[in-house]
């Protein structure tokens, strides 16, 4: 059984972590491990620092900026501060193409200064849906139409409300690492279209082979696979990454 067999295009993984998770020891911090990961079929990995997620966003973001700065296959994901009153100068990272942000909690984001900056650069915000709700996502997406909101941590229990968000709001997308519904990729393609679906693995929390196998075996067109595995993320990032 092939895990991933598309020979003519490489994938982009939108959802990976750099560092350790509480109660787990599975760091993605060494060049060799990064290279091993890329060999699974990826051209680019988007990395968020677990230090930024769990401890200190400023030092964690600096860490990921530094780690990704000399490897063009790695794209940093900036974690928005836990305390949203904490503002620091994003121009610190100006040398690196920064287009992806990740929020820890969405419910108090409305009106936050970071969103003005992200809207200005037409950036993307990854939103763990478990931390949000239909109303909070809907409200933010309507208020910031230049920002693309990518819902992650979505599984079948959230399907009805997430389908409604995806169908009703042009700037809302779904990342599929946690979406485990049987024939789920086919279901999303049929109901909301492939252009709203983005590939991510949640590595190293989850094994990437699960989502890669699901993606590889999905009964959808080659064009749709290319969009989900690469094209949509490139479009959100503003152009061809190669």
């Amino acid at each position: 059984m092939d895990i991933f067999n598309q020979e003519d295009f490489k994938l982009i993984d939108l959802n990976c972590y750099y560092g350790c998770w509480p109660d787990r020891t599975m760091p993605l911090t060494e060049t060799k491990k990064i290279n091993d990961y890329l060999e699974k079929g990826f051209s680019h990995i988007c990395l968020a620092s677990t230090r930024a997620l769990f401890l200190n966003s400023y030092s964690g973001n600096n860490e990921i900026y530094s780690f990704t700065s000399d490897n063009s296959n790695l794209l940093p994901v900036v974690v928005m501060p836990h305390n949203l009153e904490e503002i620091y100068d994003l121009k610190l990272f100006k040398d690196k193409w920064l287009k992806i942000f990740r929020t820890v909690s969405i419910n108090n984001l409305v009106g936050h200064k970071w969103l003005s900056y992200i809207a200005e650069i037409e950036g993307n915000v990854i939103v763990p849906y478990s931390m949000g709700s239909y109303n909070s996502v809907s409200s933010l997406a309507k208020q910031h139409k230049k920002i693309s909101f990518v819902l992650t941590s979505v599984n079948y229990p959230q399907l009805p409300e997430v389908l409604a968000l995806l169908a009703n709001l042009e700037n809302v997308y779904i990342e599929i690492s946690c979406f485990q519904l049987c024939n789920g990729i086919e279901y999303l393609c049929k109901n909301i279209g492939p252009e709203k679906i983005l590939l991510g693995s949640n590595y190293p929390v989850y094994t990437p082979e699960s989502v890669l196998l699901k993606f590889n075996e999905a009964d959808i067109s080659y064009k749709s696979k290319r969009m989900i595995g690469r094209g949509n993320i490139e479009r959100l990032l503003g152009g061809n990454l190669l």
Partner: protein, 247 residues
């Protein structure tokens, strides 16, 4: 050969399923055989649920489906299991203590375990992991241990291997050779299957998918993506269940 220890008949989340659709997914992932239980029996405890499963799924496709009989613990469960086994289409039992509101420690299951013990039938039991959730409370880890101690020839399968409490559950069952771990879960954490094999051996770890709710890629990918040996992967993916069934 790939054999799935944990699939269901019935509709999920408003999506219509039938035997042919399940087989299409099984073919996609090269699943040769699957143990199937009736969602109708689990959720509603209907009298005819096991019979309906037999007629609509197992009998027409007996090379692909192996039946789990789901007895209602409040309605002559031993008799229902006997009836299922005598039909020749069921080779295992599925219990869902939470949905049936009957804890695994209840004597209502005694007749079921006695039959399973005599005939060495695999018994798959749903387990939960969150302390304050009912699925955990109805099938506490110590209840599994108690059953395994009382019925030494029983093949007792912990469905979902305790969900997020998989580390604790795995550690607890190390010395119980008749307890098996079913890896069915939505969260394909690489460490889970490797930890299970390290602690209890690959012989006691079984592939389960929860199809048609969960996509089989989650569990199959978890095994294929692990750092286990090819031999151990083959055991988990099917050889263990074939051994249990003495094929």
């Amino acid at each position: 050969m790939i054999v799935d220890a944990h699939i269901h008949s019935g509709d999920f989340l408003g999506r219509k399923w039938n035997a042919e659709k399940l087989i299409k997914v099984m073919d996609k992932y090269k699943i040769d055989k699957a143990f199937i239980s009736s969602e109708e029996a689990i959720v509603y405890g209907n009298d005819d649920a096991n019979k309906n499963l037999k007629e609509n799924y197992i009998k027409p496709y007996e090379k692909r489906f192996i039946g789990y009989c789901v007895p209602n613990p409040y309605n002559s469960p031993g008799h229902e299991v006997e009836k299922c086994i005598e039909s020749g289409y069921f080779q295992g039992i599925k219990l869902h203590p939470w949905y049936h509101k009957c804890p695994l420690s209840s004597s209502n299951y005694d007749s079921v375990f006695e039959i399973a013990n005599q005939r060495s039938l695999p018994v798959l039991v749903h387990s939960g992991g969150t302390l304050n959730m009912p699925d955990f409370q109805y099938a506490l880890p110590e209840m599994f241990l108690n059953v395994a101690e009382r019925y030494k020839d029983l093949v007792l399968i912990i469905g979902h291997m305790g969900l997020e409490r998989w580390r604790e559950v795995t550690e607890l069952v190390i010395d119980y050779d008749n307890i098996f771990l079913d890896i069915t879960m939505s969260m394909p954490e690489k460490a889970r299957v490797e930890f299970a094999v390290e602690k209890v051996g690959a012989e006691r770890v079984l592939l389960g998918t929860d199809m048609p709710l969960i996509d089989p890629a989650v569990s199959i990918g978890l095994v294929l993506g692990s750092s286990l040996s090819t031999e151990d992967k083959e055991k988990i993916l099917g050889a263990n269940l074939m051994r249990i069934l003495e094929y």
